[in-house]
């Protein structure tokens, strides 16, 4: 009787869980049928399917925005990866009061609300003449991505024996050799995760981009944002469909990679 009641409770939370999951996923999947509508406005395809909104993606300005986004995301991910890894390894080795406080500084861009970043960088970049430049946006995205690299590289250093570094040094390796041949190979999984996270942070970033770029740099999120305000363009559904498929494939590869690592 009592166990019956317990089971009912689990069953109920399970129903709520699946309802919540449907609430999370179904609205997103709506963009897939919408992307095949033959009409010019947002609608479901009724009997007739069309690829016209996918055509727009390859012909319109969308391609150049994809290029802008890729360029900015790759540059800022590489910069964040280099600086974040250096910091995480240095902090792991020194681990004193100073580096712990510096770590808080590096994590700050993750906590401060994006709209505050928008105000701050709009002001600062207008003085430095970096508004609407690739460099300006890359610098902002690098700073926004740094915390994720620091966190994931730090996580992969947690279980690393500090004596490994001492052993390498006492066997005659220089600090640089120790870094490249002993420490960095150990943190490669953390660097991979951090680098991907950094890339996606930049690829998705919209709020600062709205304020500090206009026409010279026109990233994909910015173009989607403008598209959502002008009139809701079904081309966004086509783009969304492609992004959903890429995300799903990426996650499946990650699952497969993790399983392969285990065996």
């Amino acid at each position: 009787m009592a166990t019956e009641e317990n089971r009912q409770k689990v069953e109920m939370s399970r129903v709520v869980a699946w309802m919540t999951t449907c609430f999370l996923v179904l609205p997103i999947l709506i963009v897939i049928p919408v992307s095949f509508t033959p009409k010019r406005y947002l609608s479901m395809p009724e009997g007739e399917w069309s690829l016209r909104h996918y055509d727009v993606l390859v012909s319109g300005g969308w391609l150049s925005s994809i290029g802008d986004s890729l360029l900015v995301a790759i540059c800022s991910a590489l910069l964040a990866l280099a600086m974040g890894t250096l910091f995480a390894v240095g902090h792991w080795r020194l681990n004193n009061g100073v580096t712990r406080n510096l770590r808080l500084l590096l994590l700050l861009p993750m906590i401060v609300p994006p709209i505050v970043h928008a105000v701050a960088f709009y002001q600062a970049w207008s003085i430095l003449d970096l508004l609407d430049t690739y460099l300006g946006l890359i610098l902002v995205h690098t700073m926004k991505a740094l915390p994720f690299v620091v966190l994931s590289v730090t996580a992969s250093l947690v279980n690393l024996d500090p004596r490994l570094e001492q052993a390498s040094r006492s066997l005659g390796a220089s600090a640089r050799q120790t870094l490249f041949y002993v420490l960095l190979p150990q943190v490669r999984p953390g660097m991979l995760a951090g680098g991907i996270f950094a890339f996606i942070t930049s690829w998705d970033e919209i709020i600062v981009a709205i304020f500090i770029t206009s026409r010279a740099v026109y990233t994909l999120p910015k173009r989607i944002w403008d598209g959502l305000f002008d009139n809701v363009d079904p081309a966004i559904a086509a783009l969304g469909t492609i992004m959903i498929i890429i995300t799903a494939i990426g996650l499946l590869i990650k699952d497969w990679y993790e399983k392969a690592q285990k065996t």
Partner: protein, 289 residues
Amino acid sequence: MQGEAGIASRSSPLGKDTAYWGMVLLPAVFLATLYLVPVVSVMVRSVTEPTLGLDNYAVILENKAIRNVLGKTVYICAVTTALTLLFGYATAYAMCRMPEREQRLMFFLVILSFWISVLIRTFAWIAVLQPQGLLNDILIGIGIIDRPLRLVRNDLGVIIGMVHYMLPYAILPLFANMKTIDPTLVPAARALGASPRKAFMTVFLPLSLPGLAGASILVLIFSSGFYITPALLGGGKVVMIAEYISVQMSETLKWGLATSLATVLMLVVLALTIAMSRYMDIGDTGKKA
């Protein structure tokens, strides 16, 4: 030669650590100059523009329009956080008790929605909720309603969109926390005679409180500065603090007001972050005791 260097560095720790200090300081200096200076100058501008003093903060307290915006922000954040935590907790709880295959599928779906861009997700909600949208079409089609319901450009639309965005941020940490709770504890409490309700309330719930506190502050932090979803699903009718700041900055050019509101938002978020780290620590020591 290299052996000598090794001995030398061991005898003088300062020389040995120089490289590591360089590694730590390079990114720190980069961030201090290009990040900290711009952010701090927001705070400085809030007390220097248009004149030196706290005038902007007085305006925030007195101006009725701003008070309405702040009130709306608090209201939307509170409702969003409460709903997100309620459904997030139930989902994480059920996930912990599912067969492995089912759990993996649900986890995959939650993570998938987590990674989809907020713009695409908001676009999807516009397609579903707008007056000629999918939901209204279905409801009219099966005859439940005969006029479209107003589901966007109001509080309801903003809350739906925000809960949708925040849910993974609640589910994932709650799930991670609940997985660390010893699964034999609740059955043990039951075997010792506790009712299911009592076993949950006195054993499971207290152990999940640190995760719950962490997740709720995380959701609160993200909701308070949220810009995209309120701006798109609120359609100008539901103005929260972030959108108000953007209007001051780009349309009315009241930089004093924009920077002081940004400062208030930043301080609230930093206070919440400190609260989060403190609460989590208390939770940890509580667990050990």
